[in-house]
Symmetry: D2
Amino acid sequence: MPRTKLNVAMIGSGFIANVHSNAFRQVGHFFDVPYDVCCKVICGRDRAKLEKTASRWGWDELETDWQKVVTRSDIDAVDIAVPNALHAAIAIAAAEAGKIVLCEKPLASSLEEAERMTRAVQRIPNAVWFNYRRVPAVVLAKQLITEGRIGETFHYRALYLNQSGNNPSKGNTWRYKRSEAGMGAAGDLLSHSLDLALYLNGAVTELCAMMHTFAANRDVDDATMVMARFANGSIGTFEASRYGVGCQNRNAFEVNGSKGMLSFTLEEMNQLGFYDATEPGRLQGGRRVSVTELEHPYGKNFWKPGHVLGYEHPFIATFADFLNSIGGQEAFHTNFEDALKVQRLLHAVERSSASRGWVSVGERVAA
Amino acid sequence: MPRTKLNVAMIGSGFIANVHSNAFRQVGHFFDVPYDVCCKVICGRDRAKLEKTASRWGWDELETDWQKVVTRSDIDAVDIAVPNALHAAIAIAAAEAGKIVLCEKPLASSLEEAERMTRAVQRIPNAVWFNYRRVPAVVLAKQLITEGRIGETFHYRALYLNQSGNNPSKGNTWRYKRSEAGMGAAGDLLSHSLDLALYLNGAVTELCAMMHTFAANRDVDDATMVMARFANGSIGTFEASRYGVGCQNRNAFEVNGSKGMLSFTLEEMNQLGFYDATEPGRLQGGRRVSVTELEHPYGKNFWKPGHVLGYEHPFIATFADFLNSIGGQEAFHTNFEDALKVQRLLHAVERSSASRGWVSVGERVAA
Amino acid sequence: MPRTKLNVAMIGSGFIANVHSNAFRQVGHFFDVPYDVCCKVICGRDRAKLEKTASRWGWDELETDWQKVVTRSDIDAVDIAVPNALHAAIAIAAAEAGKIVLCEKPLASSLEEAERMTRAVQRIPNAVWFNYRRVPAVVLAKQLITEGRIGETFHYRALYLNQSGNNPSKGNTWRYKRSEAGMGAAGDLLSHSLDLALYLNGAVTELCAMMHTFAANRDVDDATMVMARFANGSIGTFEASRYGVGCQNRNAFEVNGSKGMLSFTLEEMNQLGFYDATEPGRLQGGRRVSVTELEHPYGKNFWKPGHVLGYEHPFIATFADFLNSIGGQEAFHTNFEDALKVQRLLHAVERSSASRGWVSVGERVAA
Amino acid sequence: MPRTKLNVAMIGSGFIANVHSNAFRQVGHFFDVPYDVCCKVICGRDRAKLEKTASRWGWDELETDWQKVVTRSDIDAVDIAVPNALHAAIAIAAAEAGKIVLCEKPLASSLEEAERMTRAVQRIPNAVWFNYRRVPAVVLAKQLITEGRIGETFHYRALYLNQSGNNPSKGNTWRYKRSEAGMGAAGDLLSHSLDLALYLNGAVTELCAMMHTFAANRDVDDATMVMARFANGSIGTFEASRYGVGCQNRNAFEVNGSKGMLSFTLEEMNQLGFYDATEPGRLQGGRRVSVTELEHPYGKNFWKPGHVLGYEHPFIATFADFLNSIGGQEAFHTNFEDALKVQRLLHAVERSSASRGWVSVGERVAA
């Protein structure tokens, strides 16, 4: 079948723009998708970085004004890979110009922005790069939960720890400023954990959180802790920190259910921990499933059994699934609507931390 | 040197009475202690169980009325291994009779009892069996923290998960009844985590907790979650549950500091995880120290390097350290005073859970 | 039931004599056995060490001449815990005096001695302390193999590595002298691996070995490597070394069979690794069974689920099983006959290493 | 700087041709290389597979006759990704046509072929895809050994186990036929282990091996075991098997040296195990270094600290290093000369297995 050309514009040229570029380049190598993805134009403010990223990944054109880019008639899709506070303006402008919109997580730097953005893309294919939903081991966890293999959920437990913030003198990038990032560890790290929790364990009804800043000179949280109640009756804890010295990228979760336990950590990205409590007691034990078999999620797309995937593969799978969803009946997830739910939780985290008590998650910000 | 005879009376004949009995039998085999410990009399209500425990461990006499036992002139020390709600009466009576008192944890079934007990033993050698303080790996963690090897503490994180409560129909023993246990997972499991936190990371100033009961027919918590602030500026999370399906006895903690990380889990009792963030980045990595070397805590008391210890050895070490402390200048820890601090935290947990918000730990119950 | 008194004499007062003493003291605390074990007399050449061991474990009498001991009419059992080259004389004398004989492994310092010893005890209850056969995880492995859970065996793979010999200047004890030990790493470490292989995988038909000495001043092997064929058609590798720097006590084995895999390492003594290849591919993974459940081997004898055992517990279980076997229909294993098979393999290892080729195991030394 | 165009021809269209194609596509995205790599022509016998691979990776032209391809004047480099027995003819023809030659491992199906091939490429840039030399953790191991961090080597120990051959009925591809593969597990798996051993521990002087076939209908080895002596005085063991049930892709090695230990397994590809025996005994422990830091090998080429690599990245690094070596002073490794050394070891393995004894490795096959 002939494939339609899809002209993509990238707004941003930093680390994550490189990761997205790789997904654009690699998607056709591993997945059957109905589009030929063309890396048409990349847009950024730092000229040297822009040229380097453009040259490395073969972007056809360079641009410095995103407003010009998002309205170009030859652009089909706009990918947003800039600091959080800039997401809303770009996404809304691109949506108004009728472009497909992809946005890096977290969706926005405030709930109000996120709500506006979500309304703006209502009739447009849209996606948010919550990449960890496409880790094969995470998808397998979802399958096992859906199949009832761990039964009724009792506990959900998530950590996202790195040591990026430990040196207070280094943290003067946008990620450490409220005006650009909105939040600190909460937006950066906790948002991933919350998205996975929503995916794997469903809605959170109420929560109690504490946001904490260790470094004197910062106005965003260095670490955030959360206790939560889920709609399914289970209870959960979350902890995200940039002061998790000893942890490079520990994005981990565990679920205890009536019939078993699941556990995952990004540090062993290709494995899922599974404890089957329905087996004879004599044989029960936590097993490590190497999620690289052909019958595993994305097992036929990448390499062979026992041939592990790296950080970038879930981005490729995210993009492939998104491309295949366009024009179809089934919505792609994580879309803006899903990411708005995460933003609502982040907002509740802020409210709870300020009020030093439990808050209900359901309340909407007045439109 | 000739050793003094120490006549011990045991109140209780269940699982933990067996563990204590083993400590009494073994202490002289591994430690130089100034006493010859005599297992004089064991006291219990269930005759069959009493006889079995007595015969197994060679207790000289059997008794069913603890009040007779604690006042016997030939008894030097009373060891309390009965349900929590019975601790106070026995401990106070024994103290009033001038006996050395050892008590199983948690100290009491209420803060009020714990305070009375602590006052009662003020002039008497006393100990509480918070056994995990004597796991060699835990002592090594304490040493490393004290030496400043992980620097300033940022995060303290503790779990104590087992699956004992998962079957609601089974839980009709005293541990699941408020009138006998006082609390559920909090008293049973969280108390251990809190004691270790006090030992390793110092005082907690305020906390926010949620106690949750999954089983319809129970009046104690099946699980308890806590967020905490420590006096040293660090923040912490705690989770204790009897619904931790997949975890047999996961008593674990982690500490992130400015210079490194420590981690421990009882499932690998003979190892301490240590990440030294002061090493060259290229060589940094979490190491597993097998805490069985001669230079390790209790390394000269038990076997050889690489020859692992089991569940009972920390009890033996606890008892040895206690015996050696009697009559000395330095207080033994964990004593009633220490265990009272744990009880105060448990009380704060209850208050916080009821009020759905943060509570200060310092407040005393009116005398 | 009233228990018969069993007067034991210990020949030896070093590390392993302490371990045996502990088994004598503890056996009645955990097992129902038909004997009251009395630590009657302990015999050694180093007076200070002898007194220390005797006092620590409560041996009634001290003796320095083993020949007097083994013929004493009030002694029922003789336990041999001295350097290998002394085993034969003591065991044979004790057997001739009609005593029950227990002997530390390896059985002897030569095959010829082992054969004489085995003949001597033919009508007498006898045991060799191959303690690792009673590690619960090892017994579980045996059960799973016997039940066919890993199918037909393809590979058996064993390591026993420690770092005891790394410092050549330190190694001047009997363990490093051919005249006292017979062999080095082979007798000390490999013998354990071979005994477990015979237990778990059956007879070895032929082997090819290389014994190697790193230290210039030694006449025993520092390390020994073996390739082997088993009677069941599987093939195996063995490696034992005192130069295994980084390994404190790594006694490990793995078995690959047509239906699964088993793995064990003494460093995680309470766990058995099990990979069930009959499960759906999607769920296959190596699991770690914590072998502490009530339904596990010795699970009802020691503590509770999740409450781990240490180095000494398999010795206690060994002694309990031996006591219960006396006078019964079923032979106790590992007995002298079994240990002779290990000695035959060790002898084959020496022959193969000398001849630099494969040797058949079956050949007997001429009587 | 302008980059020279490099027209590549691929001979082969199976799994490994896909992996190489990925390296060709990705090399410029992660590395500065002096060439623009053009995927010019791909050649294969199975038309359907050829078309699929060509279309997936964007090869410009398809061809079915390799002889036409290797002499085309517009081709600069020939990459060989076909069954082992076809390597020699293609490599020699390509070399004679003056092409750069890259060849999948093992170099050949016999030592005689390997020697002819090596002579043929003597004046031509050449490479063999022993990809595991470019795993960052393996390169770090090499650096640490070179720096003397583990001191003098005592033991080298390697495993390469998968379960690909367990089902005898499935194994009718070229990999199970002597005429096409030359060897079985030895060529397929052991060759990798031997290459890493040569890289990390230097030359092997003599070895003793056993090749074994479990499946009745095969004429290549299903498993091969080796004992070896290295020129540096250390001794080693190797085991490779397609009957390693429970192991998907366990390519592992360990090195014990006088100052420490290194360990690696492909199942945790992003980590290196390091035990530093020069630290105070109290702090010694095996550490897991996550080899993803900027200062690690290839750390600046791929993602960020804690963002793991997958199976394909070492291929990309191999190709990048090769491209950068062309025309330079320093030889690229692993080249044909290096791969010939592996082949010489494989030949010694065959000789030893046939003669059931030790063989010297040095002997050359008569020219």
